[in-house]
């Protein structure tokens, strides 16, 4: 008897949480439905299936919005900054973690500080101006690298702590330089951490709006999130077209999420539960 009662309770609970999950699902459904409506039908962003599915909206926005260009800009910025960060932060965290001199301990805390404090976009713009990199993709990439570095060092550091030091000893090959040893032997061992660092940073850079807003004002160089915002500014009343740009911006993220959910979650919680 008791188990049956419990089973019913569990089913009720399950139903309750699926109803609750509508709070998350419904806003996305609204976007998807309205993306395929006409301008007048989408005016109030209702949660109704389109009277007629206007798939041509996809093409209209793709061409008018120059979406490919914006996706390309986002992809370049995300990819380059993530690759550079993976290399720099893994090397750095490795030495900071293994060779705990006073200076290195300080450097680690110095990075950890960057996890919390706010960045100073106004002065970042100034530094970029001095370097003549303001309003360039290269400049924005440099800023992204700097801002995702603390978390990356932190994630690698936590992971390396869990690798036995004996591995390092075994890795030393006579005649090979430190660089060779690191990238031939140590770096492959860090693969789980690397996957996490790639995923988390890629999403952070891809989704960021504040950095390009300050450092990349040229509409021609707009990244996809900026493009969505600019499109919204230009076509304020055309919610159908705005919805399409939203879909274009979210789709790559969904794909990454679908394949990398495990790594993303482990990355976002790594270190956090160790205290």
């Amino acid at each position: 008897m008791k188990t049956k009662k419990r089973k019913i309770r569990l089913i009720m609970k399950e139903i309750l949480f699926w109803i609750l999950s509508l709070i998350v699902i419904v806003p996305f459904l609204i976007v998807v439905f309205n993306a395929f409506k006409t301008k007048t039908e989408a005016i109030n962003m209702q949660l109704t299936i389109p009277a007629e599915w206007h798939f041509e909206n996809l093409r209209t926005v793709w061409e008018q919005g120059d979406i490919l260009h914006a996706l390309g800009n986002s992809l370049i910025i995300s990819t380059v900054s993530v690759v550079v960060t993976v290399l720099a932060s893994s090397m750095c965290a490795y030495v900071l973690c293994r060779n705990r001199t006073k200076g290195n301990q300080f450097a680690y805390r110095f990075f950890a500080m960057g996890l919390m404090v706010p960045v100073s976009m106004v002065s970042i713009v100034k530094v970029l101006r001095v370097l003549r990199l303001y309003n360039t993709l290269q400049g924005t990439i440099l800023v992204c690298i700097a801002l995702i570095m603390p978390l990356s060092v932190f994630l690698y550091y936590g992971f390396i702590t869990g690798i036995p030091k004996e591995m390092d000893e075994a890795a030393v090959v006579d005649g090979a330089g430190a660089m060779t040893i690191f990238f031939r032997v140590i770096f492959p061992l860090l693969k789980p951490a690397t996957v996490t660092v790639i995923m988390v940073n890629f999403l952070n850079v891809w989704n960021d709006f504040q950095i390009p807003l300050y450092t990349l004002p040229d509409p021609d160089k707009a990244v996809i999130v900026q493009k969505v915002y600019n499109f919204f500014g230009t076509y304020t009343a055309s919610w159908n077209l705005v919805s399409v740009t939203i879909i274009y911006a979210i789709l790559p993220v969904l794909v990454v999420y679908l394949f990398g959910q495990k790594y993303i979650i482990s990355g976002m919680t790594a270190g956090s539960v160790k205290g």
């Binding site: 998350v24 919390m116 504040q210 919680t269």
Partner: protein
């Protein structure tokens, strides 16, 4: 000695270089500029002159600007409270038992994956005058409750808080889940043998067990709340009549007016508040450890 051979200090240089050049130096410059009248409002070009504490005096003598600081604190406190309570409850529900818990977790975590700007845009439509929120209220028979949520002074800030909480709840849930998994199952078995009910188990086993996750969640949600920008920027732009203006949106506003010195001073205030909040939470942790 392999130590000297592979732990080369120059391994740390590239990371330090990027971090110092475009994170640390700007933070320091920000402090310096906050004591200047750096601006580009005149046609003749930029001027920079030291003005001492003038910017800060200007800020702290203006009631509206002090209000922005308290509003930012309020925004951070309220969103932190709800993100953690709801996140923890969701984590408890999805920890075990439910058959579909993995899908439910993935659904609730999804918003944390997306650009805050885009989420803001979506909710801008949900909360507009004829948007989904009001459509739903009408269907449910609460027609008298409908309003233009984001342009009414009394509801604008609450609405932006709701969106910020909605966006991040899943993230905090995931961290609590990780904390829950670390609690030794045998504690619960022993407690059950001793006749402890579910409530007692929650208070005496679960709550003490998730304190490390609570600390990190507090750190993250407080700093997120204090630094909030995108959501406000796209939902209300700080309006109506400044009722949702936070420090970070003011930083951008002053930047837009080319009043860089003023903008930097707001940045410094935000820096100090965030650092103090972070240190307080870490202090909490150290007290806990003793």
């Amino acid at each position: 000695m392999y130590r000297k051979k592979i732990y080369k200090n120059y391994f740390t240089y590239p990371a330090l270089f990027f971090y110092i050049l475009l994170f640390i130096i700007p933070v320091i410059l920000n402090f310096v500029y906050s004591f200047t009248n750096w601006n580009a409002i005149k046609m003749t070009g930029e001027t920079v002159r030291f003005v001492g504490l003038d910017n800060y005096i200007k800020i702290f003598q203006n009631k509206e600007l002090i209000r922005v600081i308290f509003r930012t604190l309020f925004f951070a406190a309220v969103t932190t409270f709800f993100k953690n309570i709801v996140g923890f409850l969701l984590a408890l529900a999805f920890n075990e038992g439910l058959k579909t818990r993995n899908i439910l977790r993935a659904i609730f975590f999804l918003p944390a994956m997306l650009s805050p700007l885009i989420i803001g845009l979506i909710f801008g439509s949900v909360f507009m005058k004829n948007g989904f929120a009001n459509q739903l209220l009408i269907v449910l028979g609460f027609e008298n409750l409908t309003r233009s949520w984001l342009t009414t002074k009394s509801t604008a800030l609450g609405t932006t808080m709701f969106v910020e909480i909605w966006r991040q709840v899943g993230y905090h849930m995931v961290i609590y889940l990780a904390g829950l998994q670390l609690i030794d199952k045998t504690y619960y078995e022993a407690a059950a043998v001793d006749g402890a009910n579910e409530m007692q188990q929650l208070i005496f086993i679960t709550l003490p067990g998730i304190i490390p996750s609570l600390i990190i969640n507090l750190l993250l949600s407080l700093s997120q709340g204090l630094k909030a920008f995108d959501i406000i920027f796209v939902l209300t732009g700080g309006g109506p009549s400044g009722s949702t203006e936070l420090i970070n949106t003011l930083v951008f506003r002053e930047f837009g007016k080319k009043l860089y010195g003023m903008s930097s001073a707001y940045g410094v205030i935000l820096f100090v508040i965030t650092a103090v909040a972070g240190l307080l939470v870490l202090k909490l942790r150290d007290d806990q450890d003793e």
